[in-house]
């Protein structure tokens, strides 16, 4: 047994987290910053933070992930990290020549009380920021929230720094995306394109974390939201923000600073969340929904009805990030699956409340927990108490899956034991079909592997 010490009996834990369903803020800030063109993320802390975050992102995306670090030592931890950051800014602009440095803090620099804003201002005063170049900063203490929080803080920092309302309203809709794959970002833009909408997507990791092999390495690939685009977000008609935990802060910032109204929707995962996204976009851009999208929707519904008999009543355990889980469990409920266990390490009461609302009618027996001690150890214990037919979540679920013999669909972050997940969207109607195809495949693979020979079937 891989997880041989996991017991069926649940003892209350107040202080110990075992097998977390979250990680820390800075990695989210790093991912968000990679979705801005010409930007080099910078980790203001020990080298290990930057190294771990780059490794985690690289293992998931299988692409170069560049970021610099303030390389704190004992001295900087005692005397403050100002000298390190000033030197880092100077070195980065000299050696790596980005357009933007996006600095995020760490538990170390936050604990010693480094004031990023003040240090960056000093860098500017000292002439360490070349003309036309930018240093954006976000506080991302690792002991608050989760990686999703860090993502949200970095997004907010970008719009706070760049977006500007020049009183010339442009026919443009802002899209703020929660943490999804580069292919998902591409899909969001494609859908907006079908609606004939001019949009700015922030962040946009397509063409950054899925770049083609050309025989040449480009440190700042062609993708990423540009400075001009982020600036122009202040003049847009409206913002559609996808995912409360990851994008609300930036949406509010745009509203407060630039008076761009926003509509919060879920990340468009599954049928209804995509419906709401499409409607929000149509409303924001004052356009009608094109037939081609209605047809895409129809295809998804068609696939749902085709597959329904295999999904009906199947119990599912899920773990991951709030913005991704909420629309996903809604989708599972819509196809008559039963998301009986849901866990997220990211704190915030709104998550459990919303999840339970989604589940109240059709899956009243569901257990939902997030925040402290809501970890994969607890999820596994629930599964041991009463089993499930499917597990959905990041790579780490494979240990439970193998021990318990339960089909497993990888989704979320990180997925480090497979390649290809970042190339196929799971958002939108088309992405919905992909999710269903993978769920059905996982369920049927188990049946094919375990069915007695006499009932081994060819045709569905």
């Amino acid at each position: 047994m891989l997880l041989r010490h996991t017991t069926t009996e649940i003892k209350e834990r107040k202080a110990l987290t075992v097998n977390p369903a979250k990680t820390c803020q800075p990695v989210g800030a790093m991912y968000a910053a990679l979705g801005v063109h010409g930007c080099l993320p910078h980790s203001h802390g020990s080298q290990g933070c930057c190294s771990y975050h780059r490794s985690a992102l690289t293992r998931h995306y299988k692409e170069p992930v560049m970021a610099a670090t303030s390389s704190f030592t004992e001295g900087s931890s005692v005397f403050g990290g100002q000298a390190n950051l000033l030197q880092a800014i100077d070195n980065i602009f000299t050696i790596y020549e980005p357009e933007i440095i996006a600095v995020h803090s760490t538990c170390l620099s936050e604990t010693i009380g480094d004031d990023l804003g003040q240090i960056v201002a000093k860098a500017k005063d000292d002439g360490k920021v070349p003309e036309g170049k930018h240093v954006v900063q976000a506080a991302t203490p690792s002991y608050v929230g989760s990686h999703v929080t860090g993502y949200a803080n970095m997004l907010e920092a970008f719009v706070k720094y760049f977006s500007f309302n020049t009183n010339e309203k442009i026919r443009q809709v802002n899209m703020l995306s929660g943490w999804v794959e580069p292919s998902d970002m591409r899909e969001l833009k494609r859908m907006a394109g079908l609606m004939d909408l001019k949009t700015v997507l922030l962040p946009d990791t397509s063409d950054v974390l899925d770049t083609p092999m050309t025989g040449k390495y480009t440190m700042y690939p062609k993708g990423g939201t540009t400075v001009e685009e982020i600036t122009s977000m202040g003049n847009s008609m409206a913002t559609v923000a996808m995912g409360d935990f990851a994008t609300r802060k930036a949406a509010i910032m745009l509203d407060n600073k630039c008076k761009v109204p926003f509509k919060m929707v879920d990340i468009p995962i599954g049928l209804k969340a995509t419906d709401r996204f499409v409607q929000a976009m149509a409303l924001a851009g004052k356009v009608s929904v094109p037939d081609v999208l209605t047809e895409e929707r129809g295809r998804l519904v068609d696939v749902i009805t085709d597959m329904h008999q295999y999904f009906y009543g199947k119990r599912v355990a899920l773990y991951g990030d709030p913005d991704n889980l909420l629309p996903l469990i809604e989708f599972l409920v819509d196809i008559d699956m039963k998301p009986v266990y849901v866990v997220s390490g990211t704190p915030g009461k709104a998550f459990s409340k919303k999840a339970l609302e989604i589940l109240a009618e059709k899956v009243p027996e569901a257990k939902v927990q997030n925040g402290a001690s809501a970890d994969m150890y607890l999820l596994h214990q629930w599964i041991k108490q009463e089993g499930v037919d499917l597990i959905m979540g990041n790579t780490y679920g494979k240990y439970i899956s193998r021990d318990e013999g339960i089909p497993f669909v990888r989704t979320g972050f990180p997925i480090v034991d497979r390649i290809g997940h970042s190339y196929f969207p799971t958002v939108g109607y088309t992405g919905g079909i992909r999710i269903l195809e993978r769920i059905l495949g996982a369920l049927m693979d188990k049946i094919d592997a375990t069915a007695p020979e006499e009932s081994f079937e060819l045709v569905m």
């Binding site: 110990l16 990680t23 170069p64 001295g75 030197q87 170390l108 025989g215």
Partner: protein, 542 residues
Amino acid sequence: MPKRDYTNGLPDPAELKEELLKKYPRKVAKKRAKSMVTNNPAESKEILANVRTVPGIITQRGCTYAGCKGVVLGPTRDIINLVHGPIGCSFYAWLTRRNQTRAMEGDPNFITYAFSTDMQDENIVFGGEKKLKEAIREAFENFHPTSIGIFSTCPVGLIGDDVHSVARDMKAELGINIFGFSCEGYRGVSQSAGHHIANNGIFKHVVGNEDRERTGKYQVNLLGEYNIGGDAFEIEALFEEIGVTLISTYSGNSTVESFAYSHTADLNMVMCHRSINYIAEMMEEKYGIPWFKVNFIGAESTAKSLRKMAEYFGDSEMIAKVEEVIAREMLKVKAVAEAVKPKVEGKLAMMFVGGSRAHHYQDLFRELGVKTVSAGYEFAHRDDYEGREVIPSIKIDADTRNIEDLVVTKDDTRYREDLAEKKAKLEESGYEFKDYKGMMPDMQKNALVIDDVNHWETEKLIEFYKPDIFCAGIKEKYVVQKYGVPLKQLHSYDYGGPYAAFGGAINFYKEMERMLATDVWKLVDAPWKHEPEIVGCVTVDA
């Protein structure tokens, strides 16, 4: 990329060095220049190593915590490694190093678990000791471990949490072995500080705790072998066949239980000198166990290491057995090498990794006729480059002083005078102990040796040398590969391995055949790249 011809030796990289340094601000250039050495095996040259990375430089290096928890203690399966800090540090060190372990049914194995106190802002403000104690209690109640290690992350030292006093209190309360590590990320200039701290902690709190009866005629420890991709399994099998009892491995496929009686070994063999030489030194001082450097990466090196071990024990039966095993295995190894070599011979390799692998893997490449044109370590010290004889001349800076140097004294009752005598006698006949000569003497003239290579330098090195293969880690992998140069991860082996010992050498040869003789990299250019543009026209039939 047009290939360079290095059949008559490597070119002087002076121009390359100049280009590398030109880009840096003056002070940075001055520092980096000392970490780049044009090798000449005939003369000793000093390299600047184990010094701080300049802030803003995109380095390969990680932190002290990574070296302590991630590298040294991570592979040990019967201990709960509890990370005291915000969640990230525990999360990133959770199963990410491919340390394989073989726990028998019913034996404890906590490697698949990540344990954290998940510190929140109130713990940072009001202190985290209470939460740490509670977490230890909960770990004990849930998992019943016999030992718990506490690993400090950056904020812990700063807010004044005393993990050592918590460990003492909880040890008394729960009656199991509990000990702490002050391995905050910022403690040292790289992972290396963490290795040292881990060595100290294990030595202080575990080694010597159990005086187990002898179980074999010849008992050894293997130090600095982390069982990535099953390397240690290969070596274990060899030892077993030869009739040597492996007491403990630090720390691949290991248990704290075995560390506790590892002082009952007759010999310590050191694989990764950088990460583990401290324990070898301390065990010799306290218990009189001699140590020497071995290398099981590369078939020839494996044979050499086995022979040295047999010579140490001086048992004619063992010597004969070793020769028998070598003869048998070399037949298999040579058959594969002969098949692979014609396809890869003369290709160029570069490796920038670790504290020993960048050296060890050159042996494997040499067996295939692949030339190492440039290499360096990520976190090594001068002795790993230049040899242990430079240790007395290494400047002790503030960062080094920061790490406790344990004062170890002779254990009068358990000191092995017999081994000390054996050592003295063998030394008289020219047999070498504590014998690491470093990477540079084994490298070609004009090979460029670079410590703590960074992103900028990596790019330029690739453009200059146009290597056929680059060895480094995950952060470098896809950067290098975008250039059309395959990268072999020597930290994690890219899901591959084992590469140690004879069986491992065969695996590595085959892997090099895959990587160096494949045509997939030639698929990069679209067929229309070199064809004239298709001329556009307005009418269909024009």
